[in-house]
């Protein structure tokens, strides 16, 4: 049994499909919705943690992709754009869990597995180098 965090993106035409039921019934996966967002065009993103046997998770992901649902393996919903980041450290001031911290040579490092998705770093970054995926 393993657990995995994935970010799903639904195009408009995929809305209304019994995705959740399929994952549970056919692929025996447990899942936990961490965050959900649907825009005015009924495009949606869903951050879920799925638990199950590795083979089942893989099969479930194949099923989702066959139904035009974007699947992306992620650890954290924030991404640091390396080209924009100058390693100033302003984001580390608000990261209470140490997901963003300075290395010994004063570069910024992002331990995405520690991220609790408070999103405060997105606001704190003066370079606007930190993007929220949802």
């Amino acid at each position: 049994m393993i657990a995995k965090k994935i970010l799903l993106s639904f195009p408009q035409k995929s809305a209304g499909q019994p995705m959740a039921m399929e994952l549970i019934k056919t692929y025996h996966l447990d899942f936990n919705i961490l965050k959900a967002f649907i825009d005015d065009n009924i495009k949606g993103t869903l951050l879920i943690e799925i638990k199950g046997e590795e083979a089942d998770i893989e099969a479930g992901i194949v099923y989702l992709r066959e139904h035009q649902i974007g699947v992306r393996d992620i650890q954290s919903v924030v991404e640091v754009d390396e080209n924009k980041c100058v390693s100033c450290g302003a984001c580390t001031a608000v990261c209470a869990v140490g997901a963003l911290e300075m290395t010994v040579d004063w570069s910024l490092v992002h331990h995405d597995d520690k991220c609790l998705e408070c999103m405060l770093c997105v606001k704190a970054c003066p370079m606007r180098a930190i993007h929220a995926l949802i």
Partner: protein
Amino acid sequence: MAKTYQEINEKIARGEAVVVTAEEVIGIVKERGVQEAAEYVDVVTTATFGPMCSSGAFLNFGHSDPPIRMGEITINGVEAYGGLAAVDTYLGATQPSADRGIEYGGAHVISDLIAGKEVHLVAKSQGTDCYPRKELDTWVKLEDLNEAYLFNPRNVYQNYNAAINGSSKRIYTYMGILQPNMGNITYSTAGELSPLLNDPLLKTIGMGTRIFFGGAQGHVSWMGTQFNSACPRDDKGYPQTPGATLALIGNMKEMDPKYIRGAVYEGYGTSMFVGVGIPIPILNEEIMSFVAVENKDLYTNVIDYSVPKKAKPNLKKVSYAELRSGSVDINGKSIKTSPLSSLKMAREIAEELNNWIKKGEFFLQEPIQSFPMGNTIKGLEIKEGESR
């Protein structure tokens, strides 16, 4: 044995100058002692890369046909000053845009221009006999402009406060986001690599000093605004509070967008990260002993930014070594510390300046005038009455 600027420049020309960074020199002085190190090392490079709000650019657009005396001017929606001659303007780094607010301001326009991007220039005028055009709407690049130079009235602060928030609400400041109940401390310095902390009494840095400025060779043009050389100092002369500042000038056409970047401080405004490197000539042992300073001997104060007054409470005197350690103890509580200026980029700039000098591309300029020590700063009194 004392050296002169000329002797050091001759060594640079011959490719024989010994150039090290202000971090590297610490070990050299420890190993060889001040006297021997002063003979061995010719130039020490210092640098900083951090937010410097008091920055901006003078631009000259050239004349259109028919010509206009630009009154109201915007560049990519950011207002620029229309009170100079016909096609001259000053674009301030912190000016927000009309459409995107602080997310895109003067500093972003400056950075975009340096990156070679085309920007949208709109100007209006009442029209005069000699400047009949009333409106102008066009696109320009940096290379299209006659002159474009940064003139930053206050950069490279000699020491700055560390910030904390003693209130029960999160606050948004130019010192970053400060968490309630003394949740964190922020500080902004290159510490032992910082230009003005390595020359605390401004023995070598003055008007005319040639510098690394945004990737170009620029100059110190004047003392910076709020120049507080009379600040409290330790017995060696290092400032204990914000001290001297510098006004800098440099050609935007020779700059690199890597070293001049637009920045946004949430809930506060637009600012600009400016990369500055200043070479310090090791003329004598006194100057060598100044540049050998370490973070453990440089101090600042932790100031409570939640108090909405000019005089804010000072909670603790701390060394930069303590701030760099990751936490500071205040009233028995360990509080996380975070930097706001990039030491990584500052090191890169010190190294780059070092390379320029070693390659004989950059020569030292002796100041044509020293800055006054003992200069104090005044506040602004609010006076009542409609006329006086």
